[in-house]
Symmetry: C3
């Protein structure tokens, strides 16, 4: 199986699918093609929320503001999965999770550069570099990707780590990592800080908000603080947009006071 | 085959696909993931317009404003199809249509609760409850879903019926069920009321509008009344938005005078 | 394989998929369902950018402002591919490219009308005419499509050609064919006119702009002129919208002065 993720919108991903279908009959599943445009950190976050649910696969990821510059193309092996994409850090957080899933952690993330000839375009390496690479890696097999002539092991690559929250006994400070399509503001603060608060309230940036397990546990249009499906603290509104109600956007600082 | 329908936007449905792919190689087809958010009736309507065209399949439907509350998860058998989703009525209208297609009607809709352990999240039962249930039902087979330990027959479930229009000899009054992506306002008034009117006009909320079979039968930007692909009266504009031109939105009352 | 392209948005394409799945187990891949609404030329352009990357397939294309009028349904054979869609020109540009790919050019584009009985709807021929036709053509095989009773060869069909740019020794004048999801304005001016300009500037509608191979070769928010993945001159902004920065939209005239 090959999965596709990008910020391409439509219809560019279709050309990538065609390129892959010419090489292999592998099943193709779309993760998303509407990742926030050229936002490497947001894409890296969403990949951690989706790819670990898949069986072993080759994951082709193209969020690539540096397309056409001299940044490398990478193949990352993580457990029984392979990731193919640009060398800008987008592949690394999910690679660590995929490796953790399978074995004993980040030691099992192996990074390779993928050598490519001058591609047909300088603006669409999804079609001209990454889709062919993903099809080739799938064809060869994740286990033996190092036998491909295009690959060379490297430890000189861009990494990306999500910012660490500051968690204290009397509260926590973090930031908004992404806002999802519902308007839920997903922070980097671990959900555990809410542990004893369900049914009560917590102070968010100085104002009290109810802590609940379900959106529908508050009235329509009311704010709540919950643990999202990612395990982090999420600022939400029942049937509304948490980002607007809490006045936050991506990278906004969020302080919870217990 | 497993189909997926939700109001999740992107990229949450990808996690559902991954969960399913870990259990079964079944083909997955997306119906839509942009149903009007948390609008159970709209989703129920669109399911009646799409699922009956499919061969027998397991249809996983997650429009679920009550996620994380104590509402049940349901499996509904309808003819050779099964539907999996929350107990809020969203599955029932299409279940009746799927059963009608196959045999002799609503008697053949069988509803089961689906017992689930505490899921990993309280906010994403699509991933943690309904996708696993759909994969399990597919694996077991629609015919023998009652043999699954998680299922129990029930007749205590939320139903949903579309509002009945009032059709008289001199006109009809109904309401707008949904507005589609083109801006066509789909009413609950049966298309038959237009039978003898094609080529002429009809009074909509007091103003005359042409009755035509094709959008392009009026000039660009002009209003028309037609029978949509659902068989109902539709308020439209050739290459424009009918909802705006007729000044209607979902749940707006519509009166046709013959 | 059957591919689907339309301007239907969601969820109408799902009904088309269901119709096809009832006839054949063929793999279905979506090209796009958000082509600019009822814009036959834009759809024709995007098809040339996507379908030629696919292996032999049946391509079902429904951008059809004339639905329900007496316009014909067509099946077009181009090399080992077949295209199915309305007789409004949308199929022809890509058909010529698909034929070129395979053999010796436009001579190998064969156009057939596809006879259909009164369909179930006058507004959704994607579901009621074109999806069944695509499934039937796939079932019969592209090679023998003329043996289907519904087909009749024709040379009386709507064609569509993209406007020719005026390329002179001291510059070129063309127009914007489409604006992509990134905001890149794709012109009909061949990229070759930029050949010696990379690293320098060019005058676009009287104002100088840098000519670069990569978006990231200029600062964030800065304009550039590049060769897009289609091979044509593209007006862009690094991490921004070229259409807004250059003040152009579809069909806008663009003059480059060398």
């Amino acid at each position: 199986m090959i999965t596709l993720s990008s910020d391409f919108g439509s219809p560019y991903p279709a050309a990538m699918k065609g390129v892959i279908c010419r090489v292999t009959d592998a099943r193709i599943e779309d993760i998303a093609h509407d990742f926030p445009r050229q936002d490497v950190r947001a894409a890296a976050f969403w990949l951690t929320q989706t790819l670990p649910y898949f069986p072993p696969a080759v994951h082709c990821v193209v969020v690539d503001p540096g397309v056409g510059t001299d940044r490398d193309a990478l193949v990352v092996r993580a457990g029984e999965h392979a990731l193919v994409g640009p060398d800008n850090g987008v592949l690394l957080p999910v690679a660590r999770e995929l490796a953790d899933d399978e074995t004993d952690g980040a030691d099992d993330v192996e990074v390779f550069t993928w050598a490519y000839d001058d591609p047909a375009s300088t603006t669409f390496h999804g079609r001209d570099v990454f889709a062919p690479a993903a099809a080739a890696v799938h064809d060869t097999g994740v286990d033996t990707v190092e036998t491909r002539p295009e690959t060379a092991p490297t430890d000189d690559y861009a990494d990306l780590r999500f910012p660490d929250p500051a968690v204290e006994s009397d509260g926590a400070t973090g930031e908004v990592l992404v806002v999802d399509d519902f308007g839920n503001a997903v922070t980097n603060i671990p959900g555990e800080v809410l542990a004893d608060r369900f049914g009560g309230t917590i102070e968010v940036d100085g104002r009290d908000a109810p802590v609940r397990r379900a959106y529908a546990a508050v009235d329509r249009g009311q704010q709540l603080v919950t643990i999202g499906s990612h395990g982090n603290v999420e600022l939400a509104v029942n049937r509304g947009r948490g980002d607007e109600a809490f006045g936050v956007d991506v990278e906004a600082s969020v302080t919870l006071s217990l």
